[in-house]
């Protein structure tokens, strides 16, 4: 074991600053040699400092960029309508990045090997659907929802039945949003539900819930497309997505509330 139990400076005739400079090879030659020589005669201390030197080398070499990107690959005029994450269009990623992609942070909650390395950090299909549905229906003046909030009991019973899962409408009134109602939507394998909320200023957010059998459980992830922000997560094979044109912090707060209300 190379970490000494006592201070790594014990008995060392050099101070911390000198050792730091030695690690990054920024010492003038004579001083560097003095430290090298001393460590050569003190193998116990040398093991520790050489390990740090090896870490320094690895850090210096970490993540070389194999894939070239130019400024044009970034959306640099976003205040109009930016292309969403243009860099995602590029399929080629270096090996390490591809490997890391396969084990994005859902892996942090699970044993590493339990996550399929196939799902990259791109948005799952249900999120695309959710954002499209938000864009489509949240701007509706007369028919934003299929069933209004005044028939809430019926709405939830109906959606629960079609989704084959119990569904409640999270109460977001504490954060200023009232339920407007909801609708049933077609999705990839089975139907999806959309609940719409509105605040006093008329801003609307939508909660989209769809089966996500093939997605790995994940913590909150954020995505943005053409001004619509969404927080999404996967829990117990259900994909949830909360979308709106509101700021991220507020949306995040609302998402936590929704998450707590909908835990199965």
């Amino acid at each position: 074991m190379s970490t000494p139990n006592n201070s790594p400076y014990e008995g060392l005739p050099f101070d911390a600053d000198q050792m730091e400079l030695w690690l990054t090879a920024r010492l003038p030659e004579p001083q560097k040699h003095r430290i090298d020589d001393w460590l050569g005669q003190h193998p116990q201390q040398a093991a520790y400092w050489q390990a740090l030197q090896q870490d320094q080398r690895l850090l210096a070499q970490l993540n070389p960029m194999h894939d070239h990107r130019s400024l044009d690959d970034y959306a640099l005029t976003p205040r109009q309508t930016p292309p969403a994450r243009p860099w995602l269009r590029r399929p080629a990623l270096p090996t390490l990045a591809a490997f890391a992609l396969g084990s994005v942070c859902s892996a942090l909650l699970l044993p590493f090997w339990a996550t399929a390395p196939s799902e990259p950090a791109s948005r799952p299909a249900f999120v695309q659907n959710a954002m499209q549905a938000h864009a489509l229906y949240s701007v509706e003046v007369r028919h934003p929802v299929e069933v209004g909030e005044q028939e809430q009991a019926h709405l939830l019973k109906w959606l629960s039945k079609r989704l084959e899962r119990p569904l409640a409408a999270p109460d977001l009134s504490g954060l200023g949003f009232q339920l407007l109602g909801g609708r049933l939507l077609p999705a990839t394998d089975s139907p999806a539900a959309q609940l719409m909320y509105q605040d006093a200023g008329g801003e609307r957010i939508t909660l989209y819930i769809a089966a996500a059998a093939n997605s790995q459980p994940s913590s909150f992830l954020f995505s943005e497309h053409q001004g619509v922000s969404t927080f999404y997560w996967v829990d117990e094979h259900w994909g949830y997505s909360l979308s709106g044109r509101i700021d991220r912090a507020r949306l995040s707060q609302l998402s936590s509330q929704v998450y707590q209300a909908l835990v199965l």
Binding site: L59, L108, W113
Partner: protein, 165 residues
């Protein structure tokens, strides 16, 4: 300074972002944010030698904001086995993967500090400017960060070794 001056620094910024953050998509988001802030605040006149530290300080501020606002998937690895993954399933997990993951177990400050010095090769004075820290603090924190990183890698190595027995 103008937009074209950003070009030569893009690979370095991307690499720094990639090492700071675990998910490559978060890293590219950070690069994008950084480029936007840089374009929006570009000083008309900045000495050429200052371009790079200036851009890195913008990236650092964006990074800290993103982390504070929970925009990144900032998570610590719950167990050390996840530093390398399962040795049976991933026998080729290399040291750099372990190192990249170990970095994510360090605090935001420690991570930035180590990468700015060890990877980006900034001087200690430049790092102090970028992180807005007194220069003396940079040196002492650096050593503590190196120690923490070493401990993590050692524990992970022990774990990996045991698993392979």
């Amino acid at each position: 300074m103008n937009k074209n001056d950003l070009v030569e620094h893009l690979p370095g910024l991307r690499r720094y972002a990639r090492s700071l953050l675990y998910a490559p998509s978060d890293a590219e988001d950070l690069v994008q944010e950084t480029l936007l802030s840089a374009l929006g605040n570009m000083p008309l006149w900045l000495r050429r030698s200052k371009h790079r530290p200036w851009l890195f300080s913008i990236m650092h501020n964006n990074f800290v904001n993103q982390v504070q606002q929970g925009k990144t998937r900032e998570k610590h690895f719950p167990s050390l086995v996840t530093l390398y993954g399962d040795p049976v399933e991933h026998p080729f997990s290399d040291d750099s993967l372990g190192l990249h993951r170990a970095l994510q177990c360090l605090s935001v400050d420690d991570r930035s500090l180590l990468l700015l010095v060890a990877q980006a090769g900034f001087s200690y004075t430049q790092v102090a400017h970028i992180l807005d820290l007194p220069q003396g603090t940079v040196m002492s924190r650096l050593h503590r960060a190196r120690q923490k990183l070493r401990k993590l890698l050692e524990q992970a190595d022990d774990h990996r070794y045991r698993e392979q027995q």
